[in-house]
């Protein structure tokens, strides 16, 4: 619990109702979407505008109290678990769309707006905001920016970082900065906008964002291709790209996932397939038709066993459901679902899936893999039970080895979920010790007292590398 005098200052800053420290509030801000983590904060605060955020930060800075900014707590890296106590700042009240500029095709929003609500509003105006994390029905734009979230459309349209033009942020000192703006070109100094995207609440609190909008595609087509040979599926992914076709969506499910999905959703998927690709193209009518035809040819050439092209929206939706139910289905298998986020260059997908399967077998754990094949972002997902400590230990060991394998294949430890608490011990594997040092210096420059989301991103100790024995 915080000192009474400090609490009085905080209440003064945001209003009596908007600072809470009852048990109920503390418990319900002690976790996020990451399994098995919990730590209670000292208080929860709900600011209503930038000035209040600044005032709160000034108070906390004066008393050296840590702050965790929080959207909807859907992140999967322990990003909003207040491991060092302090105050959790919930951004939900700051949820306005401040402006949609139809001349510049930009939108300026507050960080607490729910992603889906924003997307629906924009689509209602006949425009398009592509980043679509699967959690968008509840995640916030602020959280998306802080994690640099991606989604099914990432391959063709990019991720959150490609759509943020400018930010307003509150620094640890309480000062307010603005970066970028409604500008398509801007090279005045370091690009702080890009630096802040994906900074996981460790550098500043985002209080406003200006986002880029684009015209929506006119036409869409969806298909499923099924392969008994994993390499056939993987080669298809590479060949599509080689042929200079960038599908809007290019998703992958491995055999264990297919089985689980089919068992759950009763879609009648063939169970002997090694992999299924879900492909969607959008754009002008002619381009879409031509691309889908070319993609089908490639699939045939790579010995796809079955190809089905949706003839209408309803069928397309059914195909998309197959991919979307992957997570749902897996979540129902065992009590604890650990969804990870290893990413490799897209030419290495088959190798990575085989590695994951080998490692799962080695540690005797169940890991199903699905993900965004088009951008190499795989989600090996362990289904386990948090109460079985011995099994959880094996799962952790398996994941360490999976990250190692990803890096050996030229990949990374996380493609879209962030480092947070969970991946912190592995960050050095990816960026090296000099990389860590420079990142720490940046953190120091923004937040000298280490008040913003402490304990995240940088671990006390790097995990020792697993020695791969391929005997």
């Amino acid at each position: 619990m915080l000192d009474r005098a400090i609490v009085a200052e905080l209440r003064e800053a945001v209003g009596e109702r908007y600072y809470k420290e009852d048990q109920e509030s503390l418990v319900t801000h002690s976790y996020d979407g990451t399994p098995m983590l919990q730590s209670l904060p000292d208080g929860v605060i709900y600011p209503g505008n930038t000035a209040e955020v600044s005032a709160v930060m000034t108070i906390l800075n004066k008393h050296r109290i840590p702050l965790v900014s929080r959207g909807s707590g859907t992140n999967l890296c322990g990003g909003t678990v207040p491991v060092q106590g302090g105050v959790v700042m919930v951004m939900h009240r700051m949820n306005d769309i401040l402006e949609v500029d139809l001349q510049n095709l930009t939108a300026t929003v507050q960080p607490g707006i729910i992603t889906k609500r924003f997307i629906e509003h924009i689509e209602g105006l006949g425009l398009f905001y592509p980043p679509d994390p699967s959690s968008m029905s509840i995640s916030t734009i602020g959280g998306n920016i802080a994690e640099c979230s991606g989604g099914l459309r990432g391959l063709k349209y990019g991720t959150t970082k490609d759509y943020v033009l400018g930010l307003e942020c509150v620094l640890a000192s309480g000062e307010i900065i603005r970066t970028g703006g409604k500008l398509m070109k801007d090279v005045a100094g370091y690009d702080l906008t890009k630096l802040l995207i994906g900074s996981e609440g460790t550098l500043a609190i985002v209080t406003e964002a200006t986002l880029k909008l684009i015209p929506p595609p006119k036409h869409k087509k969806t298909m499923l291709a099924m392969f008994t040979d994993l390499y056939g599926a993987a080669r298809t992914v590479s060949r599509i790209i080689e042929n200079r076709i960038i599908p809007a969506t290019l998703e992958f499910m491995d055999n264990p996932t297919i089985r689980v999905v089919d068992d759950y959703a009763k879609l009648g998927l063939p169970l002997n397939m090694a992999a299924i690709l879900l492909i969607e193209q959008d754009g002008d009518f002619e381009t879409v038709e031509r691309d889908i035809e070319l993609i089908s040819e490639i699939c045939h050439a790579e010995k796809a066993d079955q190809i089905s092209i949706a003839s209408n929206q309803e069928e397309a939706l059914k195909l998309l459901t197959a991919r979307r139910s992957a997570f749902t289905a897996l979540a129902r298998l065992r009590p604890t679902t650990i969804l990870e986020d290893a990413t490799v260059p897209r030419s290495k997908i088959a190798d990575m899936v085989l590695e994951i399967n080998r490692i799962a077998q080695k540690y005797n754990v169940q890991i199903c893999t699905f993900g965004h094949a088009g951008d190499g972002n795989l989600h090996p997902t362990a289904t386990t039970d948090a109460r079985d400590h011995e099994e959880i230990h094996r799962v952790e060991e398996a994941f360490a080895e999976i990250f190692e394998a990803a890096i050996q294949l030229g990949g990374t430890i996380t493609g879209e979920h962030g480092v947070g608490l969970v991946k912190a011990p592995f960050l050095e594997w990816k960026v090296g010790s000099a990389g860590i040092a420079i990142m720490k210096n940046i953190k120091q420059a923004f937040d000298p007292l280490n008040l913003l989301n402490p304990g995240k991103m940088f671990a006390k100790e790097t995990r020792r590398r697993v020695v791969l024995n391929r005997g």
């Binding site: 009852d22 048990q23 109920e24 509030s25 503390l26 418990v27 319900t28 801000h29 002690s30 976790y31 996020d32 979407g33 990451t34 399994p35 919990q38 209670l40 909807s72 707590g73 859907t74 919930v90 939900h92 009240r93 729910i114 889906k116 959690s135 029905s137 509840i138 995640s139 997570f327 749902t328 979540a331 129902r332 009590p335 604890t336 679902t337 039970d385 948090a386 109460r387």
Partner: protein
């Protein structure tokens, strides 16, 4: 709350709460946008994920099950909109009942008048069909003798709590006779018989909405079903189960199972989403009584809502051709329990859309709770009113002439909503059975 009481409650929670379900929640937050109390307040604690976290924290010893914890468990509408939204298939409805059951075993602290109302309703009234009948008769006298008008005019309703007074205004005309007294216990099918169905008459339905019960029977018979109304059936026990009085709920369930088994019916038909949902879960309610397993499964398997059986199995009477080209605009307000638990939200829509003179207009968030939720609008008036106000904004936007519902609680709540917030004098709330009957059978 004293330390020792809190500790005792924790122990009970530990026993009653299904820890598997608590761990199944992976805290993904997908249920948040579905939850009306979260929508109204934006507070994590007022969300399913939050409430599950609170339950788990009390069991894990992370927090004390204090007054605030109890209040939060009571804030939940029990609408179960969170369940279909949940990827992990967490049985939230069971968890909240278990939590309330534990709280009920310990609480010394219902607010005075809530306590009186609960005792009256749960113990003295609902379990006794004859008393419900008397209540109906009493109401009839109250309405017939002009007492109602007098009470309304003189503002004597102000003597009731404000919330009860609001409800008083939504009471339907009561006949004082139940469905059996009017139609008997066995009503033959019209034409070739498709199946024999047992009608669950309900307490509120039978004492206050007897006309709807009569029409339910006649619709079923028109559609080809022989209808049996077992006389020894009683209250479904939903209110008891949802408020933690599990023991009483079980007793009621057993006696209903007996009644319908003796009647030997193919289906058990409910015309109230709230009753139907508990009936269809009798197997769960009695899951820890192995002796009752077979019977409760027999029962649960047969339960269907009136709309569902009409769509799935019935021989629907041809609706009369409209007299003119004027189509009436109708919007459908989901019964949470019919939609989220019985999974029967499509059938009423199909039936309505098939009527030639009806234009079905979906209201925004039709599937979201109206705030009635059993006696929630009596025990949690503030939240219930807030929810109702938003519901009526959406209903008004459809410019519908009828708001059709599938549950007496929702029906009364929508009537109240119209009374307070409708911006169109012509709009009425009706039960789907009454609406269908007038268009399919009567003419």
């Amino acid at each position: 709350m004293a330390k020792s009481t809190a500790e005792a409650l924790r122990q009970t929670l530990k026993i009653k709460l299904d820890y598997d379900q608590l761990t199944n929640c992976m805290r993904c937050g997908f249920c948040l946008p579905a939850c009306p109390t979260f929508k109204e307040t934006g507070l994590e604690a007022e969300s399913p994920r939050g409430r599950i976290a609170l339950m788990k924290a009390t069991v894990d010893g992370v927090m004390e099950p204090n007054d605030q914890f109890e209040d939060q468990m009571n804030h939940c509408l029990g609408c179960r909109a969170c369940e279909p939204a949940c990827p992990a298939d967490v049985k939230y409805g069971q968890l909240i009942e278990q939590a309330r059951d534990a709280i009920e075993a310990h609480t010394v602290r219902h607010r005075g008048w809530v306590k009186v109302v609960r005792k009256l309703v749960f113990k003295q009234l609902f379990p006794h069909q004859n008393r419900m009948g008397l209540l109906g008769k009493g109401l009839r006298i109250y309405q017939k003798t002009g007492l109602q008008t007098a009470v309304r005019k003189t503002g004597a309703v102000g003597l009731f709590s404000k919330q009860l007074a609001d409800l008083e205004r939504t009471l339907p005309k009561v006949s004082g006779k139940g469905v059996i007294q009017q139609l008997g216990t066995r009503i033959p099918a019209k034409g070739e018989k498709l199946a024999t169905v047992g009608m669950f008459r309900g307490c509120l339905m039978d004492s206050m909405f007897t006309e709807t019960n009569n029409k339910t029977v006649r619709l079923l018979s028109e559609a080809g079903f022989e209808v049996i109304i077992p006389e020894s059936q009683n209250c479904c026990g939903a209110l008891h189960a949802h408020s933690g009085e599990t023991h009483d709920a079980k007793q009621l369930a057993k006696s209903n199972i007996r009644a319908f088994q003796e009647a030997g019916v193919d289906y058990i038909i409910s015309n109230a989403g709230g009753c139907g949902a508990i009936l269809i879960e009798y197997d769960h309610l009695l899951h820890d009584e192995p002796d009752w397993r077979e019977q409760s499964e027999w029962f649960a398997k047969r339960v269907k809502d009136i709309s569902t059986i009409l769509v799935e199995k019935g021989r629907l009477p041809q609706p009369s051709q409209p007299q003119s080209n004027d189509r009436v605009r109708v919007t459908y307000q989901d019964s949470c329990h019919l939609r989220n638990v019985m999974k029967g939200g499509n059938s009423p829509r199909k039936l309505l859309a098939a009527l030639p003179d009806v234009e079905l207009v979906e209201m925004k968030d039709a599937g979201s709770c109206c705030g009635s939720a059993g006696i929630y609008n009596v025990t949690q008036p503030e939240m219930a009113n807030q929810i109702l106000e938003h519901k009526m904004e959406n209903a008004n936007a459809t410019k519908a002439h009828y708001i059709v519902t599938s549950n007496p609680g929702c029906l009364m709540q929508m009537k109240l909503g119209i009374d307070k917030h409708a911006d169109n004098d012509r709009v009425q709330a009706v039960h789907i059975v009454d609406f269908l009957f007038d268009r399919m059978v009567k003419s």
